[in-house]
Structures are given as C-alpha cells and as structure tokens.
Subunit: 218 residues, 2 copies
C-alpha cells in the first residue's frame, strides 16, 4: 500500500506519487475528501499533478501543500510541506502542478483534505458547455455523460446538485482503459473537464521556453 | 492613476505593480473586493505579492491570476493571465507570490476579484493566538488591536464576525508610517497576521539555494 501518512487531525495526507487515486479514496476515513473525484486515471497521483488535476471547479494547486519530485537532472526537490496556509514563501510547489512532466515525477505529495458530512455524485446524458452554472466541486464529461460530484454539509450538497437531475453514481469509475497510449489534453477524447478535453495518446501542451529554462535549472 | 483595467464582468483587475492598495479599493465598484483588506502597506501591489499577501485567511496565491515581472536579469517575464481556472499549466505566477524580491518587481498584476453584497470590519483589543476560530476572510493584529474583515452575503458576514464583539472600523488604515525602513517578517513589530509578525526594517527570510537558482534562470 503506497500511502505513507494520513493525519485526520491536520486534514492532510502524504502519499507516494505512484499511489492510485482510488487507493486514496479507499484509505480515507469517512468525512474527509481529496481534491479529485472518485475516478482512476493513468499515472496515479503524480500523473494527476503533472496534468494540473482533473474535474476541479476550484483552484487545484492550492490544495497541494507540498511535493517532493525528482527533477530531470536527477535532483530530488522538496517543495512546500504540511502547512495549510503557504506560510513559507519561496514556493516551488505550484511549479510542479501542471508541469506535464517537464519537472519530472512526483515522489511524495502532501494533499490538503477537506471535510464533508455528505457526498453525492450524479450523472445524466449531456456535455460540458456554456452556461453550466453548477457549483459542484467536481464537474466532468465522460463518454457522453455529464457528472457532478460534491461533498460538504448536506444542504450545500443538495444546493450544488439542484436542478441537475440525473441518477446517482455510487461505484468509482476506472478510466485508465480509455487511455492505452497515455492521457493528454486534446479534442475528440472520451473525457472532458472545465480545462481540457482529454484524449488517448495526446501530447502535452508545448511548454514556454522560459518554463523549460526553469525546469533545466532544477 | 496607475490602475490599468477593470473588468467587472470577469471579476478581474489588472493594475500596475506600483498601485497603492487603497487606490485599488477606491477604484472598485460596490460589491467587488480584492484579496487584501482595506489597508495601505509599503510597496503597493508589487510589495504585497512579494511578501505573499497580508492578513488573508485563504490561499492568497490562488487569487493572483497573472503577473508580469522584471526579473533581476532584466528580462520581462509574463506569467499567467486573466483566466480564473489556471487552465494553462506551466505556471510561473505562483513562483512570484512570496518571492520576497528574489524574482524582481511586479510590473503588472492580474487580480481575481470576489463579490460581496455586504462587508464589515471590526476591531477590539486583543492579539492573534491559538484557538482563534474565526472564519473571517481577513484577520490581523495592529498595534494591540485585533481586526476582522469579511465580505459576502449578509448572513455570511454576520456569521464570520459573530461573537467577536469589537467596534466597527470604517476608515481605511495607512500602515506605511510604521515601516520607515521597510517591512519584513519579524517579531516585535506593530503588525501581525496568521503567517508572520511584520517588523520595521526586518530582512526577508533566507531563500533556499534552489529557489535562488531558479530565480537566476529567469
């Protein structure tokens, strides 16, 4: 089991970069949630960070409290830590989130967990488009169905899913078989969230030269 | 007037780095708020970003959508932009927030604004300490008084300030005269927030060597 350390009191989780997303869901006590929905995607936690998250309707990088990564140079870079309020400054953590592999692989990741006494996930036929005014914490489109997932106080959860309809989803989905050649941002694929379409075998976005220069300095 | 562009529809503001914090408050239409309380501090907006914000009880860097800064090399670095959901990846914006001058000065900053139909600021004698369970958006200690400020729905504002007591504060404070030799994190100074004490003439925290290496690459 690759999960390293759960602190329910601090509402933080330290996990190895190769941890599967659903293994994190399985390891959490009732009432605590990670910053991703209960689905499995290629590359586990490290892959998720490299791609900048999945399905979030909030600022994903703010939920990553720290990351230790092995830079392409081989150097082990420790960034951030188990501190919720980003006290330190000089923060390299956010550089890793959305780096699409330019900064190497995450070795360990410290996630902020958030509490919820209630949680629901619903799905109905549909697609992401303009005017989707939903406040659900996670919103995504998978194989022609639109999914919303939210957790929080019971009343918040009802409000976030109100007027959406659809049917309850209770089993986590494993989307890995949809991406035999890897997952990347692109059109025409089986998944879409508020940031990107996600397609099988799609290459990462072209990195700005300056970002590559920074990556080479690590 | 150094403010460059306000978009009330997008809830974003682009301002030059030398813009005074209270000039931003003065320029905003009723019902929109920036990610700092109505106080003036040394260095204007650029200084605020370099220090990682002031008084926030939330993730400050997530409210900075983009920054153009002049690196010590002289290079003008454009990071992020006017996009709320951090779509792009390869994000150098967060590197600037809390960089304490290592990455140079902000030339222009794009702020996320947030709506509030109500806003209140209260103060009473007291100091920041353990067990301060307040959810107010901004919390700080100034010259022996504890300040809370919140905006949002009227009911949220009342809830955030409940049981605190104190008296209403309506005039913005100019704290610049308290820091004739510059402001830095340190004990014994006239200001304190949830991250640091702020003292006159205090030096920035020592930067990790790797952060300096990254800064030198820009």
């Amino acid at each position: 089991m690759p999960i390293l350390e759960l602190s329910a009191a601090d509402q933080t989780l330290i996990a190895s970069g190769d941890t599967a997303l659903l293994d994190i869901y399985a390891a959490l006590p009732p009432g605590l949630y990670p910053p991703f929905p209960p689905v499995e995607l290629p590359g586990g936690l490290s892959g998720l960070l490299q791609r900048g998250g999945f399905a979030q309707n909030f600022f994903f990088a703010g939920e990553i409290l720290g990351v230790t990564f092995q830079a392409p140079s081989g150097r082990l870079v420790r960034a951030g830590g188990r501190v919720v309020k980003n006290v330190q400054g000089y923060d390299l953590t956010r550089l890793f989130v959305g780096s699409f592999g330019q900064l190497g692989e995450a070795v360990t990741v410290t996630l902020r967990l958030r509490p919820g006494v209630a949680a629901r996930q619903v799905a109905r036929p549909g697609s992401l488009g303009a005017g989707l005014g939903h406040r659900a914490r996670f919103i995504w489109e998978a194989q022609g169905k639109l999914h919303l997932m939210h957790f929080g106080h019971a009343r918040e959860v009802e409000a976030a899913l109100a007027k959406f309809g659809g049917e309850e989803v209770s089993a986590p989905a494993d989307y890995r078989p949809l991406f035999p050649d890897g997952i990347g941002p692109g059109e025409g694929g089986p998944l879409r969230d508020l940031r990107f379409g996600w397609a099988n075998g799609a290459a990462p976005p072209v990195a700005p030269a300056l970002f590559s220069k920074v990556a080479a300095a690590l």
